[in-house]
Symmetry: C2
Subunit: 433 residues, 2 copies
Amino acid sequence: MTRITSLTTRDIRARTSRFLDGSDAAHADPDYSAAYAILHTDHVDGLEGQGFTFTIGRGNELCCAAIEAMAHHVVGRDLADITGDMAGFWRSVTSDSQLRWLGPEKGVIHLAVAALVNAVWDLWAKQQGVPVWKLVCDLTPEQFVGCIDFRYLSDALSRDEALDLLRAAAPGKAARTAQLHTDGYPAYITSAGWLGYPETKVRELCRELYADGWRSFKTKVGISVADDRRRCEIMREELGDDVQLMVDANQVWDVPQAIEWMRQLDGFNLRWIEEPTSPDDILGHAEIRRALAPHGIRVATGEHVANRVVFKQMLQAGSIDYLQADACRVGGLNEVLAILLLAAKFDIPVCPHAGGLGLCEYVQHISAIDYIAVSASLDDRTTEYASHLHEHFVDPAIVRDGRYLLPGAPGYSANLHTASVAALTFPTGSEWR
Amino acid sequence: MTRITSLTTRDIRARTSRFLDGSDAAHADPDYSAAYAILHTDHVDGLEGQGFTFTIGRGNELCCAAIEAMAHHVVGRDLADITGDMAGFWRSVTSDSQLRWLGPEKGVIHLAVAALVNAVWDLWAKQQGVPVWKLVCDLTPEQFVGCIDFRYLSDALSRDEALDLLRAAAPGKAARTAQLHTDGYPAYITSAGWLGYPETKVRELCRELYADGWRSFKTKVGISVADDRRRCEIMREELGDDVQLMVDANQVWDVPQAIEWMRQLDGFNLRWIEEPTSPDDILGHAEIRRALAPHGIRVATGEHVANRVVFKQMLQAGSIDYLQADACRVGGLNEVLAILLLAAKFDIPVCPHAGGLGLCEYVQHISAIDYIAVSASLDDRTTEYASHLHEHFVDPAIVRDGRYLLPGAPGYSANLHTASVAALTFPTGSEWR
């Protein structure tokens, strides 16, 4: 028996805005931050479950407060009681009869659900002595679907269809695991293309990253057509025509504007335009996708998509070519698993959103689960990577030659170094004093 | 000059869960609550702007904290500077470069925007000495659209189209105002049909309310088909066949389940089914609407629709017959005005969500604005009313013969009695001690 005895939170913030790391058309000055849920237990080894949600500074305190408002759903419970009915646990947290009014299933409340739910997965995996990706991949198809709340999904994906997908993927699991151990999972890098970087810095970073083995790059756009063309020219000059190049507008355009703007970025062989408009605009994304298809530019979105119901519709409406779920925006790993299954059903590749503070550490597990247990495919899949802030993590994500290595430590890779917690705690840490 | 000198918040909660007032299939025990933003000024008369967002208990503290996190957008500013560019002000608050990550435009952050924005409207109207509905109806079409951020709307409604709609409605404004002064605005009542009420209480309330002049009623459903049929039978027995009867499932069904369930409630001459599934499911609502149309049951939703982008799509996709915007869920009156224009363009009646704590006080203004200045129509329109908690308001909504009377006091009708503030303040007030 491992009983959850208490819950505490941590307000962790890095002052990334000083260097414009992470800057884009909608977020000029992000301070990459994480609201941590720490589950304390009576386990003899002092096991703790740690989970976080990612934010970009102000408001991180709201996520901490929201996590604390959900403590009654975990404190005092036996871990096995929760993991024995993960879908039921998830439903109980997301359906809190009073807190749900503040969403439902979106915004601060759902970000807090992610931290809490991911802390439970971290605790479960640590107790089992395995990384989260392996814990999930070793589940039977029945156990896997037992982690998913199918409410609001049944018109697109039934429990039986999910079981069929998982059973079809089961035979090759061992071989695909061995392959990831050997080769890693393909990634792309965003670090060269933050909007606030001057041309010289972009050129320098492109050369360095290319030399490090990267062959898939993303840049921010959305200031002016001329500036965006210039940025694409610079990157193509440095990287050549054979690397993948993607662009990201971070929601700044209206639907007609996105179409018109992107037509003017034709000629750079862009793999996708990411977040061309509001993340809530399912029909708008579908229209943009139809209009840009003749130009060979595909549409990606997801880091601000609130939940599985919106992703379901994006798949039903044909809104996207790439699905970029965020490990913290949707309600933790349970909902991510549902989204992986939805994407597999509609045959759309999942290229998870990462970067930030700790998102790379999470998505390495998600992409491994997708390949080993769900889609069984690497076709046209790349997972985002950004090269900052990994030094704070006890088990940081490691990339080599542009590929994520499979993580090996037990848990969900969320633990921070003690010194990092001391430095980054807001507002008392040395980073903020 | 009226300068906003400081912002404070109030955590106001009523213990409605004791009597199951407000209970429904998703919210078993609501404690109707409001997070207040109070804008203090240097005005010689000590004018304060008050605005609130509505919640149902736990988590109200998160909304107060979110309002405080937005203080830098108003404190120190001159009121005329804000009201001179209301769209710009609204954009600055909803696009806060760090806080927007927590939404964008949804959940706790957007609920807080509503409180803050509505406090500004309250202050503006008090300064002008008029109720908010009159302040808005007296704006020129150009001033009216100057309050609206058209971002993400231009594929469905341009600024010019909005101007055309407002200009077309302008000629009859005086006559329609006079008509509302005389007759009031048509309403329906939810108070007889809370899910937790026993049969005897429902029967008694139906008789009382019918005797008071009510001819349009709503009841909660969603426990079992048998229970729901029984509830409809009881209400039809008490009310007869000529009153309007609507049902509300509060999001408990999947799409196929909603269709199957509602087919079994055929025969009660139901005007609409409200919130049959997830409020995020634009395509699902459209499918339910198509399936139920042959049964004469129409579809209403909106109290949990996060923002204008989702409403835009519900109109584009033909998801709804009635649009039930919430005065606090979307980002305050500015966004409500955008939604009224969208609905007018698509010729869908707006029947705002109300009840709760103070929502009736807000919607009386919204429906008046819709009739006088935007849609210019009362066809098939009824605004929700629930009969509890009005005693706490200085200028409560007043209904007579099932119609809202036009409010006359300056402001947005949000002020609470001093004694009510003392009693309902959480957790120190007498209601909670």
